[in-house]
Symmetry: C2
Subunit: 122 residues, 2 copies
């Protein structure tokens, strides 16, 4: 594989506005990388990951249901959910004295789904 394959392309092709724009879109600044790391960091804990995959399967679960899916106290689950909620990874809804959590958006679902595929067929 050519070490500089991507960078050498300009010696064999004329500049192209479309490709240039696409390359600029691909660039990730240190600030963006840090934001992405923050997202991954939140997914990168066994307790939180189990909660998220439980929500991926069930759609929506209350804290007491989620507590049964992991081996920690309900307090630890609550702390974990607060981190995920603050980061916009999950959303919550009150119904009586129970609070139901769900994955916040389709991107999070795709991320969890793709990662599961990576684990099994990577």
């Amino acid at each position: 594989m050519d070490v500089l394959a991507g960078l050498d392309a300009c010696t064999t092709m004329e500049p192209d506005e479309g490709r240039v724009a696409a390359a600029r879109d691909r660039l990730v600044t240190p600030e963006e990388a840090t934001q992405l790391a923050e997202l991954f960091r939140l997914l990168g804990d066994p307790t939180r990951a189990q909660l998220l995959y439980a929500l991926l399967e069930a759609g929506e679960l209350c804290v007491c249901d989620l507590t049964e899916t992991v081996e920690v106290s309900d307090t630890a689950v609550s702390h974990a959910l607060r981190l995920l909620r603050t980061a916009g990874i999950v959303a919550s809804r009150r119904a009586g004295r129970m609070i139901y959590y769900r994955l916040a958006d389709v991107h999070v679902r795709m991320l969890l789904d793709l990662s599961r595929e990576h684990l099994r067929h990577g």
Copy 2:
């Protein structure tokens, strides 16, 4: 949205081997969730994330090039790369006294790519 939408389906439809098998494939055990968390944890550090996105853009880079993309010492970069290499996230190749690193497989590239999209259009 119905809280138990997924679970109630069996009251309105006959069992279906295809759907049952698909549901079983979707289930993530605590052990799998923990493995996935380990993957996310490794992506969840600003230094490592910057290195990975640099590799995503450039294809292949030596340690000295990678050191220029982050604000830490070459030693810290080496420690970070060892973690990623041990986990099978990056692969390395020696050429003279330089060692070139690249992303290990297409799944990692897709994961980084999808996450970048999440950050920008989520």
